[in-house]
Amino acid sequence: MFPSDIAFSYFNPNEKKYQTIATEDLFVDVLEGKELVTNNNSLIQKKTVISTGKNFRYIQTKSQLRPKDSSDFFKSNLFYMLLLIPLFTIPIVILIAKKNEKRNNDFIGSRTRKAERLAKKYLSEARKQLGKKEAFYESLERALHNYLKGKLGIETADISEEKITELLEKKEVHSNTINEFIEVLKHSDLARYTPITNSEMKEEFERAKEVIVQLDKQL
C-alpha cells in the first residue's frame, strides 16, 4: 500500500475557505518478492552429506562363482551357429511362403480341373452324338438333368425351370450361372425344331460344359 502523502491545499473563493484534497491510497497486489523474515523454528535445516575421504569400500558378500577355465562364447561353435541361423532362416522362410502361395493357387486349379472332368463325364454321350442334331440335343439335355440329379439329389420328374432356379438359389449359386444354365436347357429344347449347323452345335456343347464347370465350382 502506498500511503497518501500527496495533498494539495487551496483557497475556495465560493466557500471562502481553505481546503485540502489528498490522493487516495493506492493498493498494489504484490505477486513476488523477497520473503519476509519470519522466525519459524519448524524449518528443517538440511545438511549436505560430506564424505571423510576414507570411504574404502567393504568386501562384496554376494558372489556367483563360476569355473575358471570357462571357454569364450565369442568364436565358440554355439556363437557361430546362432550367427548363421538367422541367415539361413531368411531364405527358408521365404521359400516356404512361396510354396504355400503356390499350393493355395493350385487348390483353385485342382478344383477347376475336377469340375472339368465331371462335366466331360456327363457330356461324353453328347460328344459322341455331335453332328446328329436330334440325338445330340437329347443327350445334352439329359446330361444337364443327370448332373443336377447327381449333385442335388432331385428326381427328373419334378424338374422345371422355376424349381431348378429355386434350388440353385438355395445353394447360393450366382444368379448369372443359374441364368446361363436355364438358357442352355431352353436352347437345347428349342434347337431340336430349328435348323442348326455343326459349328453351332459345337458352340452349344462348349457352353454346356462351361456352365457345368461354373456350377460345380460354386456347389
Binding site: 570411504n55 574404502f56 569400500r57 567393504y58 568386501i59 562384496q60 558378500t61 554376494k62 558372489s63 556367483q64 562363482l65 563360476r66 569355473p67 575358471k68 577355465d69 569364450d72 562364447f73 565369442f74 568364436k75 556363437f79 546362432l82 550367427l83 538367422p86 541367415l87 532362416t89 531368411i90 522362410v93 521365404i94 511362403a97
Partner: protein, 255 residues
Amino acid sequence: MKKIVFLLWIVANSIAAQNADSLFVKANNFYKSGEFETAIENYKKIESQNLISSELYYNLGNSYYKLNKVGPSIYYYEKALLLNPLNEDVKKNLVFAKRLALDNIQKLPQTFSQKINTDYLQKLSYDKWAVLVLVFSIAGSILFLLFFFEETPSKKRLYFVTSIGCVLFFISALLITNNQYQLSKNKTEAIVFANKTEVRNAPTLNSEKIFTLHEGTKIIVLDMVDNWKKIKLADGKIGWIIASDITLLKPFKLN
C-alpha cells in the same frame, strides 16, 4: 553306467559349489573380524577349486589392502576388473590401492579413438559384445522378413529402414567384438610384486639400468627371453625386467 557317472559328477560339482559358497561366507566373516590373513587363505582355497568371480578377487584385493600389501592388492583388483569391467567397488578401491603405490607414471595422452575405446567399448567384455551381435542379427532378420511380407507401403518402409539399421549395428558390433577379442588376447598386463626392481635395457644382469620400478605398478608385457620379460609402461618407456619380480594377470602368449 554313463548316467550314474554323470549323476555323480553333478552331485560332486554341486557339493564343490556348496563348499565354495560356504568357504566364501567363512572368509567374509574372517575379514569382518579383522583376520585378513585367514580370510585370504580361505579365498585362495576357493580359487584353487578353479572357481572364480569378480567379487572373489575384489575381496582378496581388499584383504591385501588391509594388510598393506600394495602389489597383491592391485593385482587382485585388476583381476576382478578383467572379469567384470563394470564393478564399481573395485574401481573405487583400486584408487585407494594405487595411492599406496610409489611409482607415479603419467599416462600418454590418448587419441580420440583410444578414448572411445576405453570409455565406451571396453565397458563390455567381448563375450557381451558377441551377445549384442546375435541380438542385432536376429532382430535384423526378423525385420527383414517383416519387410519382405508387408503389403502396406508405410510399414514396409519402416521395416526396411529398421532392418538396414540393424544390419549396420550388427556389422559394427561384430567388428568391435573382434577388435576387443584381439586386444584382450594379445595384451598381457602384469603387476610389479617386488618392493623395488631395476629395469634394464637388455635381458642380462650386467646390462645398463634404465629406471627403477616399485611394488604395485601396472605394466604391459611385450616379449620374453629366458627369465626376463620385455615390458612397457603406460608412459611408453620400454625395458627388460626379471620375470619373478612381476605377476602376470593372465598367461603370456607369444604371437
